[in-house]
């Protein structure tokens, strides 16, 4: 049953008008119905299976740079009216704000096709994924100490009606599988992590895929068991494709989100058209990437998602906007207004952010590096948003000697700042790969893709423990 489809658009538009009763620049009703399932196997046992359905709405009123918001998980005429009255009460009495006439409902079905809706798949098949992942990781040897495999699926149906007269409906299905493995040899404990996911149906996953993901996580943990403490120093760093993109997301991407630009809290503010990276670097944010984990047909303000080039040949050429901050900066919204759920206001957020492919091969890049550090996957990090200065842990790292990847190294950290490392990129491969993640900001978590091809940073500071 779809609550979203049974709602009267005129009633929602009436709610928008009531929110604007005492004035305001913009008002909106966001309706959402979400249906989720999560399953986990840990310590050889399926110990958590939970999920549910919730439907609700939020009414937003914007006046200048102020935002008033009321949300409820009861969707009926009375609740809608009460929410509209509540946000309007934040203003002194004044002339009513303008609401444009409602236009025809827009949808864009089929942009991220779902072949097998996960809710139609028997739970036993989902259990089988967890079992296959658990088996694959444990078969990697006796040094595997703990395996966690988790499966998640979700469907979000959203409807946006606003005072610009827009009425937009979007239907999003996502599935994801993650594996986390702990390996132990005597007193040494190492962990490995891998995942796969997308805005797609159950066709993305089968037992073989689950096994591959979990085995990759196990391999990482095992490889690091024999790691030596990393040396500290300045050297060339080769960042592997896929997970390496986390660095671009954290150290650069957040500074391109328009709210940080408006607040003056970004090093990229006022630098449009200027050089911020080596000429070899192109970078994108693509909310429309087909079946991408961070993708949708429309953002959570009803704006169609798009591919935005943010860096062109090293020059800054785009920011990521929601409606509010696009208005403040005199730009067009770029489809980056995203929210965790109807209980949250939209913020400018990344979708799938990546550095574009180059001409080299990964082998050429490693081969051209006499002595350096190869970071295959990164752990968490800290970024100072205003300057882009970061410290990142390396989950899986190796020494490069005479053009070959050699000894595994543990305890390494990458230290630098966003613009500094972008300017030092001197080789980019063609092996573009996107990875899935969850990004937190202002207490809201949204799915994002991060990615890049294998690339080399000519010089970077490694913090080591050796």
């Amino acid at each position: 049953m779809n609550v979203v489809d049974t709602l009267d658009l005129e009633l929602l538009h009436e709610t928008v008008r009531r929110a604007l009763e005492r004035g305001g620049d913009f008002a909106e009703v966001f309706v959402e119905e979400r249906d989720t399932l999560s399953m986990r196997k840990e310590d050889g046992r399926i110990d958590q299976v939970a999920g549910g359905r919730e439907a609700g709405f939020g009414v937003r009123l914007c006046v200048g740079d102020r935002t008033y918001y009321a949300h409820s998980d009861e969707i009926d005429e009375e609740s809608l009216g009460r929410a509209a009255t509540t946000v309007a009460a934040a203003l002194e009495r004044g002339d009513a704000g303008v609401a444009q006439r409602l236009t025809t409902l827009r949808t864009d079905r089929g942009r991220h096709p779902v072949v097998v809706p996960p809710e139609t798949v028997a739970i036993e098949r989902k259990r089988a994924l967890l079992d296959a992942g658990d088996d694959a990781a444990r078969s990697a040897g006796e040094r595997i100490a703990q395996v966690t495999v988790a499966y998640g699926e979700g469907r979000r149906q959203v409807l946006v009606v606003n005072s610009l007269g827009d009425a937009v409906r979007d239907d999003r299905t996502r599935v994801r599988l993650i594996a986390h493995v702990v390996a132990r040899r005597d007193d040494v404990i190492q962990t490995g992590y891998d995942s796969i996911g997308g805005s797609t149906g159950f066709e993305l996953l089968d037992e073989e895929t689950a096994g591959t993901v979990a085995a990759a996580a196990a391999d990482k943990a095992l490889a690091m068991l024999s790691a030596r403490p990393a040396p500290a120093g300045v050297m060339p760093v080769v960042l592997a494709n896929g997970f390496g993109g986390v660095l671009f997301h954290e150290a650069c991407g957040h500074g391109l989100e328009a709210d940080t630009i408006v607040k003056g809290a970004s090093i990229y503010a006022g630098k449009m058209g200027e050089s911020v990276a080596a000429p070899i670097v192109d970078a994108y944010d693509d909310g429309g990437l087909a079946n991408g984990w961070g993708s949708a047909a429309f953002d959570d303000e009803g704006v169609p998602t798009q591919r935005t080039k943010v860096i062109d040949g090293g020059r800054l050429c785009g920011y990521l906007y929601d409606r509010l901050h696009a208005g403040r900066l005199g730009a067009r919204p770029s489809g980056n207004g995203r929210r965790q759920s109807f209980r949250h206001i939209p913020l400018p957020r990344m979708t799938t952010t990546y550095i574009g492919p180059g001409d080299s091969t990964p082998d050429e890049i490693i081969g051209a590096t006499e002595r350096g550090f190869f970071a295959r996957s990164l752990a968490g990090g800290q970024v100072e948003p205003a300057s882009g200065a970061f410290v990142f842990g390396v989950a899986e790292g190796y020494l490069i000697e005479n053009g070959r990847v050699t000894t595994p190294l543990r305890g390494a950290t990458l230290i630098g700042s966003g613009i500094e490392i972008l300017n030092r990129i001197d080789m980019v491969a063609s092996d573009m790969e996107i990875r899935t993640g969850m990004c937190g900001k202002d207490g809201q978590s949204v799915p994002v893709g991060t990615g890049q091809p294998t690339l080399r940073i000519a010089e970077m500071t490694i913090g080591g423990t050796a």
Binding site: V49, E54, T67, H71, S72, I123
Partner: protein, 466 residues
Amino acid sequence: MRGPGEGSSVSDRTGTPACVDLGALEVLVERAVAAGADDAEVFGQRSVSRRIKVYGGEVEQLTQASRSGLGVRVRRDGAIGYAYTSDMSDDSLDDVVARALAHAAATDADEDAMLADAPDEYAGVELYDPRLEDLSVEEKIGLAVTAERAALDHDPRVKLVEDTIYADGDAEIALVSSRGVRGTYRESDCYVFLYVLAEEDDAVETGIAYSVGRDPAALDAEGCGEKAAARACRLLGARPCPSFRGTAVLEPYVAASVLTVLGAALTADAVQKGRSLFAPLEGRKVASSLVTLVDDGIHPEGLASAPFDGEGTPCGRTPLITDGILQGFLYDVRTGHRAGRPSTGNGHRGSYQSTPSVQPSNLVLAGSSTAADEVVAAVEKGVLVTDAVGVHSGANPVSGEFSVGISGLLIEGGRLTRPLREVTLAGDLLSMLRGIVALGDDAEWVPSGSVLVPTVAIEDMSVAGS
């Protein structure tokens, strides 16, 4: 407050939403049992909360959150399954029961996964004040504006009130199970919070204050504004000081954040997962004889008080530390069963979407009859700590070691001589508890974590300055 098996006047009110109507929940429990559950439990929630932030006399942000829904837990063949819904239609209720059973079937059996048994009775605590409903949104905005004005008028050096927040909540909870649990309650709470910046000679200092109650009439908005302003202004002129060892006198707000770290380490979940340094110390002396700490789930003023927890176990008073001796830990049904102990009524439910987890309710540290300024007067050399940054992130819950940045005033010869900056306080939780030499009579409720705590003096602390 209703005892088990008693009728409820709350649910008999006309217009009670189905999600907190005991009769409706009983029917749902029966449906689950009829559908094959060995045991079933339904947790219903309806709540409305508001948060109003004013700036410069006007509303900068206003959020109203309405939540209503229910969660079903079923136990079948030794496994628990969970599902939730916000939709009270008949089809949806059938669906949520079917899902909970399917989730249980997909979960592996766990002998510790139990539902709570019916209690003898629930304590009567008055948690709801209907006067909360009498106040309009405009009047609540007025309270925040009054608090902000009072802070600005208190001292010309108050340059900015960064945050002035009024927040309130009104919630009804109902719980029914096939094991005989049957209860409902309603609670209200509200608070005013200010974060004030004072400036002198280009140096900025900050001060916070709360006022907490069950209805707005209990709040002292004006006093709260003045208090936050005074707390900021008394730090103006702060200078670094040389390092020394001495007595740290923690004001209630600072002591509260230490207690929340302590409370988390005293949950059975932390103990059983090897994340608590207190695991081997039950029955041992862990603190100075002055220390008596109780988890009081039925304190009339405590914002975390309730007649029963999220599993239907009666809330009560659980002694954690008595005269310095560690008495035990906090349990829910599952961790209690694993340890062979009864639940202490600490199975916390964040919302109808989440399953229970062990958490402290109200942590109450007993005070003394000594005035706070007498506590300071007894200190030869030390620091009055008025604010601490990073207690949660700076503390290691396993080792108890921490290092935090503090603001405060130097104590010399029993007198407050001058404000300090660039000072850190380092130590470990056990040494701190053992080093407590005095407690004040000024116990105050701090809403983040719900802690009632007085001024606490700890001797022989390492104060690191320049």
